[in-house]
């Protein structure tokens, strides 16, 4: 079985977000990681490969540090990687990324495409869906259990008050939700072997793309940081008095009750 995973490089969950002089998000000195939901996707691909045999290819579009997360996936056990560089693209949006990934995917063989259901940075949750749409593939979103058999994927997803079990024919796009699995750590041997595995570097031009095709449809007009939270209030005193005071403040100051 051939599986392609689409991980994205994001800021570390503990990164401090600041804006640079131009009012853009400052990427200087920020620790970059593989989007945690994409780690679930990589892990699931590896488990499926271990069960059914096959090959796992990881593909990512982005800047010069993207090979770090691809190497991580290779160290975890993926077989090969493709990095499409973002050279020459000033601004991108989900349309840009999905167009590029889908174009590349047309040249790859796959039975299954896996991705995290969203990235923790912009949280748009659009790219995998757009890729499925462009390629005309069925898609199951936010999956917490996945079984593959006889050319079909049976995927469970959480819905309000219960679970939904969806069956789709392969090839399909499946996105991972927390709970799908517990991603493994790359082993030391895996890390050393990763550098011997193939990692292809492509440009957008190599894919035959450029200009309007990859121009973003959405432009961010302004970035701004959330206003700092005002200091909390601690109400002291006897429980009965404190409760009365709390209600008064909720009504008069916070105006929520």
């Amino acid at each position: 079985m051939k599986i392609v995973v689409l991980p994205k490089q994001t800021f570390d969950t503990e990164a401090k977000i600041t804006l640079d002089a131009a009012g853009k998000i400052n990427r200087e000195g920020v620790n970059l990681i593989m989007n945690p939901y994409d780690e679930f996707a990589v892990e699931e691909a590896l488990r499926l490969k271990e069960k059914h045999g096959g090959e796992v290819t990881v593909v990512s579009f982005g800047g010069p540090k993207v090979p770090d997360i691809l190497r991580q996936a290779l160290a975890m056990g993926a077989d090969k990687a493709v990095h499409v560089g973002d050279e020459g693209l000033e601004e991108i949006d989900e349309h840009t990324t999905a167009t590029i990934l889908a174009k590349l995917l047309r040249d790859l063989e796959y039975d299954l495409i896996l991705a995290g259901w969203r990235a923790i940075d912009d949280g748009s949750a659009q790219v995998a869906g757009r890729v499925a749409e462009i390629l005309g593939l069925p898609m199951v979103n936010m999956v917490i259990k996945l079984d593959i058999a006889e050319g079909k994927a049976v995927a469970s997803r959480e819905i309000e008050g219960g679970y939904e079990v969806v069956e789709v024919p392969l090839p399909a796009v499946i996105t991972a939700q927390k709970g799908l699995n517990e991603p493994r750590y790359p082993t030391m041997k895996g890390i050393m072997q990763a550098k011997k595995k193939p990692m292809q570097k492509l440009t957008i031009a190599d894919l035959g793309l450029g200009g309007e095709e990859v121009a973003p449809k959405v432009r961010a007009r302004r970035y701004y940081l959330p206003s700092p939270r005002s200091q909390g209030k601690i109400i002291t005193g006897e429980p009965a008095e404190a409760a009365a005071e709390l209600v008064r403040l909720l009504r008069e100051e916070a105006k929520v009750v």
């Binding site: 770090d68 190497r71 991580q72 750590y185 790359p186 082993t187 030391m188 890390i191 050393m192 990763a194």
Partner: protein, 582 residues
């Protein structure tokens, strides 16, 4: 050709020749982040629980670590290892410290527990034990110390006698304070065959006649097991003799070289973690209406914690780089032993410098936490207790200090290091010694580089005088020997700090490192004059003393700089990052 062991006292290298953490490969960086993740998710949550030595928890953590390959960095691939090299081995040792006592168990297992077999084991022994040691199925301990043979390790009384059928050695004696004793499956230990021939043995846990003493109640590292090993006609098969009969001292001392150097790395990791805790605490603890991080005296502490950590880290990875270079084509056996023992002096330096940096750092950590630093609920208390053992085990810092000049002297006698020639040349030069003049080559740290050059001359000057006076009886003058050792240690530390900063500067990444190096050099340098005065006043009397004192003064002269502003700047960086940052 990498610089020879001890040669740093005689010659200079360029910054480009020194390995630094900035030279980590992609693989090194991935190892670093993987181990840090593993430590944060799997080890740190267990650190408190481990303190009570719950049944099976340490073993389980070691097995998990083994699965990941964290036990196999120094083990060749053909025996189930990952053969990652010493830089990676240091990165691992540094990054498992959030596990508290786990780091001790890990260090003893991978260092002194495993290395004797890697370096001295025969083919059968390597095949039999190394795969299990790599995977964590087997845990190793190292038993050298006895009730009456601690620092004086060769004075052990444990005896080994060949059984009448020639198949076993019967061991009798007791080993004390053995890390991992309660946990281990195999023990590297030493006994004197026929009461004379100091010999290494591999003892399996289920050996008839072998038992363990009670768990010791310790000051710190409470999660690690420390017990005595009791041998009462313990039947050890002759196949389990490690190395040659009568050559056990080679194993004992060489295993310690690697152990010491890795201990230095673990100390660096603890320094960083302690500094991170302290910086975060200083930012949230409010007194007089502002976080205590805003106060100069707290900033002073944070800056010096960072500077000492930086110097120790620079030293550890410099040595790791050297060891990787010289062992690239020899991972095991006598060739590897010889290559590693070349750097015995540097390994001792890493141990002393790392453990003393850590003691400084945890002491200031407690102080920053104030009253909360003394309370067990907060992290400083355990760090403070856990740190103290590092100056004692794997050769006390005193023994390591004595070893440094002794090793230099031995190599000088054998003609491996030309100290005598250099000392003679200096004697000529010193009469016309020019007053202090920093090199003006447009490169940063001009004064500090000059200070370093003078410090090397001071070492030669004092060392030369001491050897001339006491000849081969110098070892009896322990205070003088220790002064020479301290000079050597600090020269290596200052040089490593400065060269690393210059290398980073050349790559456009030197800002923080230049200031950390400056802070470190200026913090240490005044000690040099004090040590020199002390040595000179003991070695000489009358007019001679005055002459020599004035030479020492000229050699240790420098232009004071504004360190308060420098510390505030370093502290600002630490506080911005909320952790150690370079």
């Amino acid at each position: 050709m990498p610089q020879k062991g001890g040669a740093f006292l005689l010659e200079d290298i360029s910054p480009q020749e020194m390995f630094t953490p900035e030279d980590f490969s992609d693989e090194h960086r991935m190892i670093q982040s993987t181990v840090a993740d593993f430590a944060a998710n799997e080890l740190a949550p267990k650190a408190e629980e481990l303190e009570h030595q719950p049944e099976g928890v340490m073993r389980e953590l070691m097995r998990k670590a083994g699965e990941l390959g964290l036990l196999s960095a120094d083990i060749p691939e053909e025996y189930g290892g990952a053969d990652l090299g010493k830089v990676a081995s240091c990165i691992i040792a540094e990054n498992v410290v959030p596990g508290g006592s786990f780091a001790v168990t890990h260090g003893a297992h991978t260092g002194i527990g495993t290395m004797p077999i890697v370096l001295f084991g025969n083919e059968e022994q390597k095949k039999k034990y190394l795969p299990g040691l790599a995977s964590g199925e087997l845990i190793a301990a190292y038993g050298l110390t006895e009730p009456n043979a601690g620092s004086d390790a060769l004075a052990i009384r444990t005896r080994a006698t060949l059984s009448p059928d020639g198949k076993y050695y019967l061991l009798n004696g007791e080993k004390m304070f053995i890390t991992n004793a309660g946990l281990a499956d195999i023990y590297i230990t030493y006994a004197k065959v026929d009461g004379e021939k100091f010999t290494g043995f591999i003892v399996e846990r289920n050996t008839p006649g072998f038992s363990l003493g009670q768990e010791e109640k310790k000051m710190g590292i409470k999660g690690s097991s420390t017990r005595s090993l009791i041998f009462e006609d313990a039947k050890v098969p002759v196949e389990n003799v490690l190395g040659e009969i009568g050559k056990g001292h080679l194993i004992a001392f060489n295993a310690l070289n690697i152990g010491r150097f890795k201990l230095g790395a673990a100390c660096v990791g603890s320094c960083k973690l302690a500094l991170e805790h302290a910086a975060k605490y200083a930012l949230q603890r409010v007194q007089f209406g502002r976080p205590i991080a805003k106060f100069g005296l707290i900033q002073h502490k944070l800056a010096m914690m960072a500077a000492k950590t930086y110097a120790a880290e620079s030293v550890v990875y410099r040595i790791a780089g050297l060891l990787d270079e010289v062992t690239a084509d020899k991972k095991e056996g006598p060739a590897a032993v010889e290559a590693i023992s070349e750097y015995a002096i540097e390994c001792s330096i890493a141990k002393v410098l790392g453990s003393e940096a850590l003691d400084y750092v945890v002491d200031e950590m407690v102080q920053i936490y104030g009253g909360y630093g003394y309370i067990q609920e907060y992290p400083a208390e355990r760090f403070y207790r856990d740190s103290r053992i590092n100056r004692i085990f794997e050769g006390t810092n005193e023994i390591n200090r004595l070893l440094i000049p002794a090793t230099i002297a031995r190599r000088a006698m054998k003609g491996q290091l030309n100290f005598l020639g250099a000392a003679k040349a200096l004697a000529q030069e010193i009469l016309n010694l020019r007053p202090f003049l920093p090199a003006d080559d447009g490169q940063p740290l001009a004064q500090e580089r000059q200070m370093l050059a003078m410090a090397k001359k001071l070492f030669l000057f004092l060392g030369g005088q001491a050897v001339e006076k006491y000849m081969d009886k110098l070892a009896e003058q322990q205070e003088i020997v220790a002064i020479l050792a301290d000079l050597a240690i600090q020269i290596y530390a200052m040089e490593s700090a400065v060269l690393r900063a210059l290398k980073a500067h050349a790559a456009g990444q030197g800002e923080k490192k230049l200031l950390l190096a400056k802070l470190y050099v200026h913090d240490v340098y005044p000690l040099l004059e004090r040590w020199a005065r002390e040595a000179v006043c003991y070695l000489f009397e009358g007019d001679m003393r005055q002459t020599q004192l004035s030479i020492a003064r000229r050699l240790t002269k420098y232009q004071p700089e504004d360190l308060i502003s420098a510390r505030r700047q370093v502290a600002a960086w630490v506080l911005e990052a909320e952790k150690y940052t370079t």
